[in-house]
Symmetry: C2
Subunit: 497 residues, 2 copies
């Protein structure tokens, strides 16, 4: 429990909201999410102006991000409105059940309770106050506390006002949404017994600290952190020969939003003989871009220095980092190349994620070594990408590499670039540690599962069942019903299609 | 990584099995689960004889447990055979997608990799070598290592032989199942980077130690522990008046399997005026039952002494604990009563779980206090149970208590007793900490979700997609398809039914 009265009031208000918010019909929460989306769109110009000032991101990028964020809310509205996400299951009482007489048992997913979401620096809309984790928690019916990121305080405040007003206007209970600021507030609330789950997008260092706090509470809670990922890209000989825009696409993906994306490709593997001249050309055409804030700028400058100073590193595009009078840094892309032996000999300097416009091209001699390399060097990634020719893809020779990518990544791309994550029902944005603290996704509709828990009701009278489990099904949700008398045939069914 | 060569070989064998086992068709794994079930049933007499000797449980109980265990395997076979558990999602490419052009993205649930399952003392079949956690991991396609419980070593060995032979006979890959023994082996493997998830059924003390180890690994893994639960039961005035067998049912639930069940009712709340004479009568008719092993017997004897010695405790049935020459203990039920003030004044002595045939009856004056009491005293339970008359249930006066039970429990029973968990698709055996380390269930088909992770494939050629995601759908699994051109209507759908 926190000793700060203001934070205690925040936790108490969230806890008090848990039951009334959980009781709202999915259709009502869906309408509330749409109301938030509409309110964000209506204030987009005002919000984007604040965000440009606070983050240095471009108007085009932020315009797209608002669109993504409001439509992400609408997608979650779509995902919950029919109640399928409740996974309502009804096992009818069965005196002949093969394991012994079965009572009437019904199970539904219920919200876990208050969720604390630590907003990210690099997506002031899409992974922030009204972003994906927030949308998922609200969609699940969990009171939400957002810990604002210090990199965009004004935007967080204004977005918070808009979200709170829209939820209230849509009839959601008091306390369904709250905003706090400051690292201490986040740490104190994460340890408060009334908080039942954490969500986070940020660095491996901070994320792991918070995950450890969540795990060491007297009552531990799940902590869904998206931490670090270097998102390796593998280009075959066929891709290098057959994709004239390969290196331009790579540089664009590395330098978009000044490389401050969790899915930025940190490594591009190419055959040793590949001509890399296009990298420098493409990089030199990229305009200087501000880094998000002085702290991130400083960290990037240090990281870039370490990479450039590592033995055996050759420069494809040196790039620049310039500091203005306010301590803000502005960068153009840095791209270096190494051979595989150099990478392996300098793991400490080279393998760590560089948050900013920097990437490392690695020359390899034998494509057959790549699967083992991926497993050893990159065991946990948000994404991995394979560029290959159609003939190579059809030959079967890449199956082992694809297996390795799938084992170590949440999303495997065939062509294209990992930046620009789409928000869809099939998206997976989360992979083996350290990409995420668990394998759960933080983007796409599957993200809602993180904030739900199963509750079974045995022998309950209809009037005391949750709506989703009642025989008269007032919410009209899909119900999976196991009829009595069916268990005797188990085992024989495994031959059926 | 472990430094013991034998354990290193176990982890290496499990890791090597991960890919071939993951590649098996669900139908083939279902057939393998049925083969294990058939083999267990065929050896039931031999296994039960060993189990009786090693655990002191009765033939009737063990016969039922084998039936439960083999049919649990068959239920998981049923649950995976059609591939619905894979949750295959296909988002068609959509140039008009409202968030921006959408690539072809497909997501499927894949096995997390090697799972380490710590078997329980009290269910030598159903929560042990071939028990529920094992069935769920194998059903998911995860190589399984079972750490045998020291309380039934011979049974574990023999069961392990049967499981291994049946899996091999059904064509499952080498290393899909392994058995290890000894606390050190379990601890070392839990910290091995090749193990990707843990499962556990046992005490809060040991479970928390292991959970902390899992969370503090360089690469943390999820640890699904079922720890402790006191499973409160609330009887209203109407239940006391209208259920003549109420107290007999309570004593039977407390004393079955000598109370060594995770769902044993540790507390029964009754109105202050209730006549409790039947408790002593029923308890005195219960025959002496051996406790599982000397360690559990000793712990029970100490715990019983602490409860009987607490101030204000009145004895309804004192029971006995007798020790034989081998250090095995035999017990009859101990049931005590306290008033609410006594319980609140002696929390340290009384609130802890007593693993064995002991329960505490609590007299209350005002039923309106019960919801707050449940939330304060019992924040995390596998089960909570309400006994009330039909009139009381229909009146609405119990809604607040039902809410409190659902918030703090995985399963809420209306009448009946929490022991004798059915294994069904709607079962939830897992609740807020310390009932389980997460809210996940370890019984019923929903338990498989613990051992699966989402992987998305973007722009993949058909030949390199997992079978479940291919357009020609060779496994015939349900595929949820999001067609192109549908996102423009989002938000308007929230008004639709």
């Amino acid at each position: 429990m926190t000793t700060d009265p203001a934070l205690d009031a925040v936790a108490a208000r969230a806890a008090a909201a848990a039951r009334p918010f959980a009781a709202t019909e999915p259709r009502a929460r869906a309408a509330a999410l749409v109301a938030v989306a509409d309110a964000l769109d209506a204030s987009a110009a005002e919000l984007i102006a604040i965000a440009m000032r606070e983050t240095g991101l471009t108007e085009a990028r932020l315009t797209g991000e608002v669109r993504r964020t409001s439509n992400q809310l609408r997608l979650f509205a779509e995902a919950i409105v029919d109640g399928a996400y409740l996974d309502a299951r009804i096992d009818e009482a069965d005196p002949e059940y093969v394991i012994g007489p079965r009572p009437d048992v019904r199970r539904v997913l219920e919200p876990v309770g208050p969720v604390l979401n630590f907003a990210a620096s690099n997506f002031p809309f899409a992974f922030s106050v009204a972003g994906g984790d927030s949308a998922a928690a609200l969609a699940a019916g969990c009171p939400l506390i957002v810990k604002a990121h210090s990199g965009h305080p004004g935007l967080s405040r204004r977005t918070g006002e808009i979200v709170a007003a829209a939820l209230a206007g849509a009839g959601m209970p008091d306390g369904a949404f709250q905003l706090v600021a400051g690292q201490q507030a986040g740490v104190a609330l994460l340890q408060d017994d009334r908080i039942r789950a954490g969500a986070f997008t940020g660095s491996t260092h901070v994320g792991r600290l918070l995950a450890d706090l969540a795990a060491s509470r007297p009552r531990p809670i799940p902590f869904y952190g998206e931490l670090g990922s270097v998102n390796p890209v593998y280009a075959t000989a066929g891709a290098v020969a057959g994709e004239p825009e390969l290196l331009q696409g790579f540089v664009a993906s590395v330098s978009g939003s000044a490389g401050q994306l969790c899915t930025k490709p940190g490594f591009l593997f190419v055959p040793s003989g590949a001509d890399l001249g296009a990298v420098g050309e493409a990089a030199s055409a990229v305009a200087e871009h501000r880094l998000l804030n002085p702290g991130i700028g400083r960290a990037f400058e240090e990281r870039r220095g370490a990479v450039l100073g590592a033995p055996g590193v050759a420069v494809l595009s040196e790039g620049v980092v310039r500091t203005d009078d306010d301590g803000q840094r502005y960068a153009t892309p840095t791209v270096v190349e190494v051979d595989l032996a150099t990478l392996l000999a300098n793991r400490d300097e080279l393998l760590e994620e560089s948050f900013g416009p920097l990437s490392i091209v690695v020359r390899y001699d034998d494509a057959r070594e790549l699967p083992a390399l991926q497993r050893e060097l990159f065991p946990g990634n948000l994404t991995s990408t394979l560029h290959a020719s159609e003939a190579e893809l059809a030959s079967g020779e890449l199956a082992e590499l694809v297996d390795a990518l799938a084992e170590t990544s949440g999303r495997v791309l065939f062509g294209g670039w990992p930046t620009g994550v789409s928000v869809t029902s099939a998206m997976q944005h989360g992979g083996p540690y350290p990409a995420t603290t668990t394998d759960a996704t933080s983007v796409g509709t599957a993200a809602i599962a993180r904030f739900l828990r199963g509750v079974a009701y045995q022998g309950a009278p209809q009037a005391l069942l949750p709506e989703a489990l009642r025989d008269d099904n007032p919410w009209g949700v899909p119900q999976r019903r196991s009829a009595a008398g069916r268990s005797a045939g188990w085992g024989s069914l495994t031959g059926a299609h």
